[in-house]
């Protein structure tokens, strides 16, 4: 069974270096749909990524910077890219070789399609 997120997440998964992609409920931090590799814990990624994005939004608002758009977290073995709104956050987990520019473009396109 497909949802409005199926095609979006499939498109991320086809990109080089993308390890996982998730559509997460912004309020609850629970994955609505996800494409994961074996061994990945989508529940934890969803909860923590949603929390991080919510905190980033608050920080941007507090600093008078307006709404938050694309958020990227660089880690030792990869990166976490996020974009979302009040209801849904799209999360992409990529390895260091993943093309962030393409991921960002795809996230913006997906967010516009969902809006």
């Amino acid at each position: 069974m497909s949802s409005p997120f199926t095609a979006i997440l499939d498109a991320f998964s086809r990109q080089r270096g993308v390890q996982a992609s998730l559509a997460v409920s912004a309020r609850d931090g629970i994955a609505i749909e996800s494409n994961l590799q074996i061994g990945q814990d989508g529940t934890r990624v969803a909860a923590l990524a949603a929390s991080l994005y919510a905190k980033a939004r608050k920080a941007a608002t507090a600093a008078g910077l307006g709404s938050t758009g694309f958020l990227q977290l660089e880690a030792e073995a990869g990166r976490l890219c996020m974009l979302g709104g009040d209801d849904v956050i799209l999360v992409v987990v990529g390895d260091p070789q993943a093309n962030v520019g393409l991921i960002r473009m795809e996230l913006i396109r997906a967010a516009e399609a969902l809006a």
């Binding site: 997460v24 609850d28 931090g29 629970i30 529940t43 909860a47 923590l48 929390s51």
Partner: protein, 157 residues
């Protein structure tokens, strides 16, 4: 200072859960309604009421789960406008306990569930070998134990 738990082994896991999940209130109780640990409550009366209600809600939802699925529901979540409640059971060598927690927009259901899973493991690891109960849980014992636990938590012991 308000102590977080009646028994010392509960303190660290409960404190870690509160810190990690960023919840507003947390209450660990025995299924009988006896308070075992708390965070965020300032009045003994509130703890007593919350324990009684949580134990009753947990029993009702467990029974509902039995009726519908043949086994008790493992957790219950209620979302209010600003605050949300999560109630779930955790098993230890000392028997089952119920955690009631209240959280707001600073946390989320996903975070609470995730850190509850960790709390469950931490509490089970921290639980000492059970000691035989000194007396049966009669009405008069329940009242005495409840008052003793509340006194410990609110610094009157």
């Amino acid at each position: 200072m308000i102590k977080a738990s009646v028994e010392p082994w509960i303190e660290a896991p409960l404190q870690q859960f509160v810190d990690d999940a960023g919840v507003v209130l947390a209450l660990l109780l025995h299924p009988s309604g006896q308070v075992m640990g708390q965070y965020g409550f300032t009045r003994a009366m509130d703890v007593m009421s919350a324990c009684a209600l949580a134990a009753a809600i947990h029993l009702s939802s467990s029974e509902l789960g039995m009726q519908l699925e043949g086994k008790p529901f493992t957790g219950l979540h209620h979302a209010g406008k600003d605050r949300q409640v999560f109630i779930a059971e955790t098993e230890t060598r000392r028997g089952p306990y119920i955690l009631l927690t209240v959280f707001d927009g600073e946390s989320s259901l996903g975070l609470v569930r995730m850190f509850f899973d960790e709390f469950r493991v931490n509490l089970a690891n921290a639980a000492p070998v059970p000691v035989p109960a000194p007396h049966p849980m009669l009405n008069e014992n329940f009242e005495r134990e409840l008052n003793r636990n509340l006194a410990v938590l609110f610094g009157r012991a």
